[in-house]
């Protein structure tokens, strides 16, 4: 396993270097930079723009350097834990994204737990009771969950929560707690608001997971080893849990790679609709205003999480099912 770990990490390192270069190229692709966007906005408002000041700011922000110099400055800064400077907030990027990262994590993690808690028993029930009324009913609900646009569900739930429970519209806490240090009251307010984005963001992924688990488990339940186990008199629950369920979980483990990046970008459109103080809307704003180091850092953190997620799922799969595929390559 150590050899696997070392080889796998050796693949991650060049991947991340390549991703950092691609991210930097992408955020440099739009014409102009943050200052040209700012000048255009000031001119549109009829405000005078001092060329000397612009030149000063360009030097101050390092925008007068060549793109290659800027890339290496950013890249080596990241290696030292310095994500760069946000032009728009006039603060280090790490300070700008700090609290939002925590709230994004809380929303994403709670959504993940909600998804697993709801999807797992339903998926198992649907597969073990195939073509029953329960299976049809739950499959119908699953299709509704898949088909409903998240932002529409968000608007409906916001209205319902306000009318039925008196919860303030939008945000992740009552307005009086915004920009306040964490306290017990603020924590309770976050909890009272959290269930709406969790349901909104989690519904489609729950429905997806139910369909996936049902299909995988049905495949496994029809295999010969299950029939043999049944014929030998193994108790149904033990037979289900010991082999087919474990095999059916492999796609879930393989899916970790796509779950982790949601911790950062997590449903940007839903966050805009619900005014959630998470990273999604800030990434959108940073891309619009060409706040290159802020946008680049978001994209880089997201890329890192994808690479780490795929790495984790590969490790888990290697530990749980280290099986050769017979059509695969040879061993050395």
């Amino acid at each position: 396993m150590l050899a696997y770990l070392a080889r796998r990490i050796m693949i991650m390192i060049p991947t991340l270097v390549a991703i950092s270069a691609i991210v930097f190229i992408i955020i440099q692709l739009p014409p102009g930079d943050y200052l040209t966007t700012m000048i255009a906005e000031l001119q549109a408002q009829g405000e005078p723009v001092s060329l000397d000041k612009i030149q000063f700011l360009r030097e101050q922000y390092g925008l007068d350097r060549t793109p290659i110099e800027q890339y290496f400055h950013w890249f080596f800064g990241m290696l030292q834990g310095d994500l760069g400077w946000s032009f728009e907030f006039n603060l280090p990027v790490s300070e700008v994204i700090g609290e939002r990262l925590l709230l994004s994590f809380v929303v994403a993690f709670t959504t993940l737990v909600f998804t697993y808690i709801v999807a797992f028993p339903i998926g198992v029930y649907s597969a073990t009771h195939q073509y029953s009324w329960g299976d049809y009913g739950l499959s119908f609900l699953g299709f509704i969950g898949l088909a409903t646009p998240n932002f529409l569900l968000a608007l409906i739930l916001l209205y319902f929560a306000n009318v039925a429970f008196g919860i303030s519209i939008g945000g992740l806490m009552d307005p009086q707690y915004v920009d306040q240090p964490m306290s017990w009251e603020k924590f309770l307010s976050v909890l009272a608001h959290l269930w709406i984005p969790v349901i909104v963001i989690g519904t489609s992924s729950t429905a997806e997971m139910i369909r996936l688990l049902r299909a995988n488990l049905l495949d496994e339940l029809q295999k010969q080893y299950v029939v043999t186990g049944r014929a030998k008199g193994l108790p149904p629950r033990r037979l289900l849990v010991k082999y087919p369920l474990r095999m059916a979980l492999n796609p879930f483990i393989a899916d970790i790679g796509s779950i982790l990046p949601h911790l950062i970008s997590g449903s940007a459109i839903v966050s805009v609709v619900m005014s959630l103080p998470t990273n999604g809307p800030m990434l959108l704003r940073a891309l619009q205003s060409q706040d290159m180091y802020l946008a680049g850092s978001f994209l880089m953190i997201e890329a890192c999480l994808i690479v780490i997620g795929v790495f984790l799922s590969d490790l888990l799969l290697a530990a749980l099912d280290p099986r050769i595929r017979l059509h695969g390559g040879a061993t050395k």
């Binding site: 770990l5 070392a6 990490i9 050796m10 290696l79 099912d321 099986r323 050769i324 390559g329 050395k332």
Partner: protein, 170 residues
Amino acid sequence: MIVYRYTPRALVGDYMRAGIGFALTAGPATIAPLGSVAQYVLAPLAGLFAVFAARTWIRHAARLEFGPERISLAGPRRASLAWSKLRSVKLSFYSTRGDRGEGWMQLTLRGAGGYDGETIRVDSALDGFADIALRAAVAARNNRLELSAATLANFGALGIEYPPPEQGAT
């Protein structure tokens, strides 16, 4: 008694991986500010590559003595396992490629503990790996061991039927 060693070609690759990995992680870890996130991430990775280099050297110096009664590891790490004391066999396949091609196998033989009952791990870069795997399958059958589905599939990929037929059986 037959003596097997790891092929130098496979070990050169692992030495290079360990060296490059250590340089790429230890270098930035030393220039990162003390106590920074980058240092917390990179320093353990550098440690991992250092351990990997040490393990590669141990494999380089290892000698596996293989006979009808026992299998023994000689070199920096010593272990011995009598086939009659074999209690668990695990044959795993690892690949870093998406299609799971071009991987390697690792055979883990666990004994009952104590003298001649130690754990021995060998991987497919070792000369004579297939012979050892076949002998392990025979010992597993003789000791009536239950093997996992992954191990059975991997034995199948090596062309080893499990349980292997008794000697002299048709």
